[in-house]
Amino acid sequence: MASTRRRILAGAVALAGATAALAGCSPDDQETPPPPPPPPDALEPLLAETRALLDLYQAAYAAQPSLASRLTPMLEAHTAHLAELTKVMTPPPSPVTAGSVPVPPSGSPTTAASVTLAELRAAEQTGQKSAATACATAPATRAALLGSIAAARATHAEVLR
């Protein structure tokens, strides 16, 4: 009885070995699949939000040139944030540059004229929260940058009061 079981076990082991050998024997013509693309950087959503903020400012700017002196520092800050985020991201984000997203042509229902300071302020407040959330769990190398971006957005909302 015991010897029978040993033989069956031995046979199973042999079979398993053969299967393993078969599996390991791949035909020469079969190409190894390309490595999967690296996952997108965790900062992609924050980058997209930064681009959206820039677009919003550019729309407000275009609609009300009289606000230029008030909005310029914020526009410059978001441009600087975009550049710094792009610098630290791996893989580098797709080369969509700020402003390449078309601003709706004037006259359309979502035209620039509809961007109010209150909307800019609300967008900054939302952006502050996302940057703060990203900062809270970011690796040490990114914490200072994300913290400054969160703080900058808070000050933008303050001056848009």
Binding site: P73, M74, E76, A77, A80, H81, E84, Q128, A132, C135, A136, A140, T141, A143, A144, L145, G147, S148, I149, A150, A151, A152, A154, T155, H156, E158, V159
Partner: protein, 143 residues
């Protein structure tokens, strides 16, 4: 558990900010600015207390506050007082920004909240002093 030196630096920075707001407040006129200075001082006291509580949790003994502070320049009028208030908050923002990388969890949340609040106060002081621009792209970044 050891306290990151950046948090110890934050405590020293908060003590210095608390000290500076007393002479600043004396030079300000008008209820709005006096209140603004009083609120700022209270915020720095809260931060100081939060740090002391945290150090106690970590069984760490912070170095005692400096025996005396000197102002970087004499405060002769409201303008010099506002200039110093801006500088105090910019310095606090830099100290708290430096505390972000070495911390995690609730310590980092505290540092971020302190950085943000200092940046906000610096902006409000710039508005009061009519300094432009009233915001900077990277609050707390050492230039």
């Amino acid at each position: 558990m050891t306290v990151p030196p950046e948090l110890a630096a934050a405590l020293a920075g908060e003590e210095a900010a608390i000290f500076a707001y007393a002479p600043i407040g004396v030079r300000l006129t008008g209820n709005a600015l006096v209140t603004q200075a009083r609120d700022a001082e209270a915020a720095h006291r809260d931060l100081r207390d939060a740090l002391l509580t945290r150090f106690a949790e970590l069984s760490a003994t912070p170095s005692p506050p400096a025996a005396g502070y000197t102002l970087p320049y004499p405060l002769t009028d409201q303008a010099t007082a506002l200039t110093l208030a801006i500088e105090i908050e910019e310095r606090a923002a830099a100290i708290w920004r430096a505390a972000l990388p070495p911390t995690t969890g609730t310590d980092r949340v505290l540092a971020l909240s302190a950085l943000t609040d200092s940046a906000l106060r610096a902006t409000r002081w710039r508005i009061a002093a009519k300094v432009t621009p009233t915001t900077v792209p990277f609050p707390g970044e050492q230039l």
